[in-house]
Each structure stands twice: as structure tokens, then as C-alpha cells.
């Protein structure tokens, strides 16, 4: 009987495990698809945001255009192809997201590590600055900065980085605070290794896991915020394709030509959800530590 129970119970577990493993790959696959579209799409599809074709305006998905092509995802109010807009929009979203996360990550990690490792006056000042800035609603600050100057991609990156780095700084500071008390750091200090080198060689490398996990989540937020700014008309200039602008252009047609606002909206939300789950997975693996990892990352992450 006991044997029988075992044989009965085993197969489902055996089936479930790979299915779950596959399922957990879905977010990474989705994000991968977006990256692929962002990288390759614009090379395959030609699109000029300035060019309009009024005779092809408001075509439903799958219609033929006046040039004989098929508008697979329809056209917008100025006869511009939706598929191309979504592909080019993906590139914009990924580029803006990557630039912003890199910039805010660099600033945040450096300042956080300095504050956490050197402590003292530097920490007191920097930590208070983090706290004060954290009290600002991030999107409002971004709107103020983006609205005050002429629209450009650089400005959007700067506006979104203005508050984006604080998360990185706080996480890094927490880890650095804990790491500086570790035996190998003490040993390096006793050996006379300069502080800057200790920070770079013996502290910073251990922040990589949590920072990457945080960067993923931050990336999703930045993509969303960029779309928000462009939707409000204070983000990217009209010559750059952005999902936010496409959605804004389609909001008047929601009832009759649903595809203009809906399709980029779906593209945007799918990317955000996929990145969010991926970020959760990364946090579970690297951020909070896992059995089998080095005890250092394990304990450091707990403090962070």
C-alpha cells in the first residue's frame, strides 16, 4: 500500500515541477521579447513620426492602407501605423528606462556606500538628505522639473532620476553599514588598505544583488512615469515616439477607434507587470538571500 501511495503521488509532483519552472520563466521571457522588439523592431519597420497619411487615418487593425501595406494593428488619427508606433515606443521606453536607472543607480550607490561606509558627519548629512527627498512625491517633482524646461529626452531622464536615486542610496547605505563591521573589512583595514579601496573592492561588490533587484523594479516605475509625463504632454518631444503620447492621442477615440489607446496601453501594462514579477523573483533570489548563497549577502540583505 505504502508503495502504491508513493507511485500515485509521484507523477503529479514530477509534472508540476517543470511546469512551475516554466511558469516562473514567463516574466523573463516577456521582458526578453520587449527587449528584442526594442532592439530589432525599429530596424525592420520604417516609421517617421513626422510623416502623416491622412487618407489612411483611423483604419481598423488588419486594414489595407493606400500604399497597399497592411496595417496589422490599425492606424491612428493621422494615419500613422500603430504597430510601428508600439515597436518604436518600446525602444523609447527601454532606452529611457535604462538610462534613468543607470544614472540614478550610479548616483545612489556611490552616495549610499559613502554614507554607510564612512559614517560620521558624511552619513549624518547624506542620510538626512535621503530622508528629506524621500518625503517628496516623486512624480510631482518630475512633473515640476519636466514642465519647467523645454521638452527633451535628456530632461525626462534627469527629471525621473531626480528622485529615483534615493532608493538605491538607502539600500546601499544599509548594506554598507552592515558590511563595514565584517571581519574581512576589518582585516583589510588592519593591513592598511586605504578606505577608498576597501569600499570599491570589499564593500561595493556585495551590494550588486539587492541593487540589481531594486533596479528592475525601478525600471518598471520609470517606464510608467515616462509614459505618464508624455501623456500629460510634458515628457518627450513629439518627434520621439512614446507610448504615453500615443495613448493621449487615442483617448478621444476610445469609444469608436479603441485600438489607438488600448494597444499601447496593453503593451505598457504587460511590460510593467512582467518587470514587476521579474523584480520580485530577483529580490527573492538575491535581495533577501537564499540558502546556498554566501552568508555575507544573506546577512547584509537583511539589514538592507
Amino acid at each position: 500500500m505504502a508503495d502504491l501511495t508513493v507511485t500515485v503521488e509521484r507523477p503529479p509532483t514530477a509534472v508540476r515541477r517543470p511546469r512551475r519552472a516554466l511558469l516562473s520563466l514567463v516574466p523573463a521571457l516577456v521582458v526578453g521579447c520587449y527587449l528584442l522588439v526594442a532592439a530589432v523592431g525599429p530596424l525592420l519597420i520604417h516609421y517617421d513620426p513626422v510623416h502623416t497619411s491622412l487618407t489612411d487615418r483611423l483604419l481598423a487593425p488588419g486594414s489595407r492602407t493606400s500604399t497597399g501595406d497592411t496595417a496589422w494593428l490599425g492606424t491612428d488619427g493621422l494615419g500613422r501605423d500603430m504597430l510601428a508606433q508600439i515597436a518604436y515606443g518600446a525602444r523609447t521606453a527601454v532606452l529611457i528606462g535604462a538610462c534613468t536607472v543607470t544614472l540614478s543607480g550610479l548616483v545612489g550607490v556611490v552616495l549610499g556606500a559613502v554614507a554607510g561606509y564612512f559614517r560620521g558627519a558624511a552619513d549624518a548629512v547624506l542620510a538626512r538628505i535621503f530622508d528629506v527627498l524621500l518625503a517628496f512625491p516623486a512624480i510631482l517633482l518630475a512633473i515640476v522639473i519636466a514642465g519647467a524646461f523645454e521638452r527633451s529626452a535628456l530632461l525626462v531622464v534627469l527629471a525621473l532620476s531626480a528622485t529615483g536615486w534615493i532608493g538605491f542610496a538607502r539600500v546601499t547605505r544599509g548594506i554598507a553599514l552592515s558590511l563595514r563591521e565584517r571581519p574581512w573589512v576589518d582585516a583589510a583595514r588592519v593591513l592598511g588598505v586605504p578606505g577608498r579601496t576597501i569600499l570599491a573592492r570589499h564593500v561595493l561588490p556585495f551590494t550588486a544583488g539587492p541593487v540589481v533587484a531594486l533596479a528592475t523594479l525601478e525600471f518598471a516605475l520609470v517606464v510608467l512615469a515616462e509614459a505618464g509625463l508624455s501623456f500629460l504632454g510634458i515628457g518627450l518631444p513629439p518627434s520621439t515616439v512614446s507610448w504615453g503620447q500615443t495613448i493621449a492621442g487615442g483617448k478621444e477615440y476610445l469609444e469608436t477607434q479603441w485600438w489607438i489607446a488600448t494597444l499601447p496601453g496593453i503593451a505598457l501594462s504587460l511590460l510593467i507587470v512582467a518587470i514587476g514579477i521579474l523584480g520580485d523573483q530577483l529580490t527573492a533570489r538575491y535581495g533577501r538571500g537564499r540558502p546556498g548563497r554566501t552568508p555575507t549577502t544573506h546577512s547584509s540583505a537583511r539589514t538592507g
Binding site: 491622412l54 487615418r57 493621422l78 478621444e252 469609444e255 469608436t256
Partner: protein, 512 residues
């Protein structure tokens, strides 16, 4: 293992719950809460959704020229003269008006026995005090009367003196409202409960939200038909149209063409478009070196296929314009249409030595014009002229407009006085410096047109001025605009207004 599975499941459930809650929240945000409090019932209540918000009730103040304030003011206060729904001038407080010989003074005879809504009499003193208040506050409407003064000659007669001959005074007075004597600047006490002599009085007012009007029992004319008129501000177009369909509001206007088709299919709605005094006006900045040459300006105009743009984007509310002012304006004389010819345009630009590497700045202010502007930019790109569309915030737009910080300026330019004097006569002179264009001959024609009160002669002179402006391509004049109105068919007596300022005094509910 089971625990992780459960945790995952609970996370899924949480995600789903958040999504549902989000959707519910979004649905709640779409303002229209299926109320049919006015729909079809003969209750005498009319609810309308204006195109622009009403931010202030002071017709002399800083907001005085805004469409919202004008819409409210014409129901609450009286004017000396007012334009009819089609633009012809009618006496309101004045029974007659006439100029002196050299058109520097206009005498207005006032209606006898007019009272304000609080019962006090309205006489020449109130008219003079209101005029002084308007010019003193120096709001946008005061700009129509630079250096003008008003004097009282008797209790029922006032005279308006202008420093220079000005035949357009009656037309311009269409934005001048009479308030009781003694209203101060920013007089909140008065404007919370304004006293006027118009068909309605204010029951409740929340700026940028709603204005409730009830009939003025002391009104001199026919008592307004509706028991209560509520003017609501619904900023989002989609929400405004949904409100119209559900019966939450009875009248909506300023509807874009793409939405008209859907509304026309509704059998309980009446949809109508009326030609207005507004025209798409795209001035060239003649003071920049690239656009100094009239040949270049003409070629750029020729390079844009306005016919197709209008047919595709504005099939209902747009008509190709044939003069710098629209057909409803005094002084309109049709000009030779400019034909689309990109090849000739390219050749002319090359011949004139146009610098194709230079990017022209095209400024405009409202998101609703974005498609039009983009279509123009696209056409110009085809002949190699690079244009940067710059959508600006209204205040920044106006500031840059006056400072000439643009190469092409897009505006929907209305002539609310229905008189070319306040458009051509005011904007195109050398002294005005509005588009860097200066032509002494044009100055002479405009001055002559302003100095005569004879309608035929004025139309003739403004026709000559229009020809100079048109041929020199001071700007591109692609389209005259109609305003689309839609109202519930149970309303009777509603007259769509050419300037987007409909009067609700004659509207009755429960008609069909």
C-alpha cells in the same frame, strides 16, 4: 512546497483583487453617473456643458475676454449692443446709435425704464461708470478702446469719444457689459451675488465647476423660458459626450468632427454646425531673414495640401477660407484661392535661395490643434522645409507670440466684434508689430477703412486690404471654422450661436 504554492496563489489573488479594484476606480472616475434628472422631462431645467470653464463672472477683469466669462456675462448683464446669433448687431440697452461726421464720437440712446435685478434703475451714470471700470481695470477688453472716453449727455444718452476715427466701435462694444455704479476691483461681495440687468440672475457659482442661473424677475424683455439653467464644466470631451447621451446634460458644443458621426446616429439628438467668425490663421514672422521674402511665404503656403487636410480632419466643421476674415465678418471679400502645388513650391523656394537646413519654429497652444499642425508639418517636410511643431502652454504661447519668438504662428483667430476692424485693422498695421510685416500702403487702406462709417465703402476698403495681405502671404489662411452643436431633441427654441456663446433664455424643455 504547499506553503509556497499557497503563497503564490494568494499573491495571484491579491494581484487580481488589485486589478479589479483599479478597474472599479477607473470606472468611477468617468464622471457620468447615469442620472437622467433632466432627460426628456418637462421640468424647465436646462443643463449644458460649456466648452471652456467659467473662472470669473467679472466681465471687466483679467478673465473678461475668456469664452467662459463671456458666456456667463451675456446671461447676467446687459450690453449697449449685442451681436445676434448670426453676427448682426442689435440694440440691447441702446435703442439707437450714430457716429459724428469724422467717426470719432458715437452717441448711444439708452432704453428707458431699465432696472437691475435688485430693482434699482439703470441709467447713463451706470454705463459711464462701467466703461470707466473696464478701462481702469485694464483687462483684455479694455485693449479694444485705447484712449477712448465715455461721457454722459443726459440720463438716457452717452457719447463715446475715440482719439482717432473708429467705425468699429459698435461691434467692439459687444464685449462691454454694464454693471451698477460702485463695483470695485476684485469685488468678491458683488460677484458672489452679482446684480445685473440680463435675463438671468446667479443662483450658485463655483468657479471652473458650475454656474446655476435662475430667471431675473425684473428683466425688461420676455421672461426666460427655463426655470433654471446650469452651466457645467466637464473638461474631458469623452465624458462630456457621454453626459449628453445619457441625458445628464442637454446641450454640448465645440464637438470635434471625429465624434460628430456617432452623435448624428442618435435619434434623440439634434446636431448642427454654424459658421463662426473664427479662422485658422498661420502668420509668418516676416521679420526673420528666412521668411522676409513674400515669394518664400507664398511658396510655403502652396506646399501644404490644405484641401486634403480639411477634408480628412474637419469634414464637417471646416471649409477652405477665402479671405483673412470669415464670411460672417463685415469686411469679408473673397480672394483667389491658393492651389496646392508642391513642385512649383519647391522650385520657388530654391529660386528664392531658401535655406532648407534651417528648422522653422511653428508655435501653437491647444492640444486639439495637434493633428492639424502635424499634418502641415508633414506636408512641408515633403518639399524639404523642416518645421518644429512647438506646443506651448497658453500663457507662454501669448508671451512668445507678442515677443515674435516664432517663425510660423498657428492660432484659431476669432473676430468676436464681427468687424474686420478689430482683426485686420488692429493686427496688420506697422505699428502693431504683430508678425513683423510692415506695408505703408496697407496701413493707408486700413486707416481709411477705420475712418468711415459707410458699410459698403468699408467692405470695399477691407477687401483691398485683404488682397494685399493675401497676395503678400502675410500668413496662411487655410480654414474657416464652424462650431458643431448637439442638443437633446426635447429642447425647443435653442439657437446655435456663431461665436460659441449660445443664449439659453429662449430654450424650452419637453418640446418633442
Amino acid at each position: 512546497m504547499t506553503r509556497t504554492r499557497e503563497r503564490r496563489r494568494s499573491r495571484l489573488v491579491r494581484l487580481a483583487t488589485t486589478a479589479t479594484a483599479g478597474a472599479a476606480l477607473l470606472a468611477a472616475c468617468t464622471t457620468t453617473t447615469g442620472g437622467d434628472d433632466t432627460g426628456g422631462a418637462d421640468d424647465g431645467e436646462v443643463t449644458v456643458a460649456g466648452t471652456y470653464p467659467i473662472e470669473s463672472l467679472d466681465p471687466h477683469g483679467a478673465q473678461g475676454a475668456s469664452t467662459g466669462t463671456q458666456l456667463a456675462a451675456q446671461e447676467i448683464f446687459s450690453r449697449l449692443v449685442k451681436p445676434d446669433a448670426d453676427g448682426t448687431l442689435k440694440g440691447d440697452l441702446a435703442t439707437s446709435w450714430k457716429p459724428n461726421k469724422d467717426v470719432t464720437a458715437w452717441t448711444f440712446t439708452l432704453r428707458d425704464g431699465v432696472t437691475f435685478s435688485d430693482g434699482s434703475a439703470l441709467d447713463a451714470d451706470d454705463v459711464v461708470a462701467s466703461f470707466q471700470r473696464m478701462t481702469g481695470l485694464n483687462g483684455p477688453n479694455a485693449g479694444n478702446f485705447p484712449g477712448d472716453t465715455m461721457t454722459r449727455t443726459s440720463a438716457t444718452e452717452v457719447v463715446l469719444h475715440s482719439p482717432a476715427p473708429d467705425a468699429s466701435v459698435p461691434g467692439k462694444l459687444g464685449t462691454f457689459y454694464v454693471l451698477p455704479t460702485g463695483v470695485g476691483k476684485d469685488d468678491t461681495a458683488f460677484f458672489n451675488h452679482p446684480v445685473g440687468s440680463g435675463p438671468f440672475t446667479v443662483a450658485a457659482f463655483t468657479p471652473s465647476e458650475s454656474l446655476a442661473l435662475v430667471p431675473n424677475s425684473k428683466y425688461r424683455g420676455t421672461r426666460p423660458a427655463p426655470r433654471r439653467v446650469t452651466i457645467r464644466d466637464i473638461p474631458e470631451l469623452a465624458a462630456r459626450l457621454t453626459a449628453l447621451r445619457t441625458g445628464e446634460v442637454d446641450v454640448v458644443w465645440g464637438i470635434p468632427d471625429d465624434q460628430l458621426a456617432a452623435l448624428k446616429g442618435q435619434k434623440d439628438l439634434t446636431v448642427r454646425t454654424v459658421p463662426s467668425s473664427a479662422e485658422f490663421t498661420m502668420w509668418f514672422n516676416s521679420s526673420v531673414s528666412a521668411l522676409k521674402d513674400a515669394e518664400v511665404r507664398r511658396a510655403i503656403w502652396q506646399a501644404v495640401d490644405f484641401g486634403t487636410i480639411i477634408r480628412e480632419l474637419y469634414p464637417e466643421t471646416g471649409r477652405p477660407a477665402d479671405a483673412p476674415v470669415t464670411g460672417v465678418v463685415l469686411g469679408h471679400v473673397a480672394q483667389q484661392p491658393v492651389t496646392y502645388d508642391p513642385k512649383a513650391a519647391k522650385a520657388a523656394l530654391t529660386a528664392a535661395g531658401f535655406d532648407f537646413t534651417r528648422k522653422l519654429r511653428l508655435q501653437f497652444a491647444n492640444a486639439e490643434f495637434r493633428p492639424f499642425v502635424q499634418a502641415v508639418v508633414s506636408d512641408l517636410q515633403k518639399v524639404g522645409v523642416r518645421v518644429d511643431p512647438l506646443e506651448k502652454e497658453q500663457a507662454a504661447f501669448t508671451e512668445d507670440l507678442l515677443a515674435l519668438k516664432w517663425d510660423i504662428n498657428f492660432q484659431q483667430l476669432a473676430t468676436p466684434s464681427y468687424d474686420a476692424a478689430s482683426n485686420l485693422g488692429r493686427l496688420y498695421t506697422c505699428a502693431a508689430e504683430r508678425m513683423g510685416y510692415c506695408n505703408r500702403r496697407l496701413d493707408g487702406v486700413l486707416a481709411a477703412a477705420g475712418a468711415t462709417a459707410d458699410k459698403k465703402r468699408r467692405t470695399d476698403l477691407y477687401g483691398q486690404a485683404s488682397r494685399i495681405i493675401w497676395q503678400d502671404a502675410v500668413g496662411m489662411y487655410p480654414m474657416s471654422v464652424s462650431i458643431a452643436y448637439a442638443w437633446n431633441s426635447h429642447l425647443t427654441g435653442f439657437v446655435p450661436d456663431a461665436s460659441g456663446l449660445p443664449d439659453f433664455a429662449t430654450v424650452r424643455t419637453g418640446g418633442s
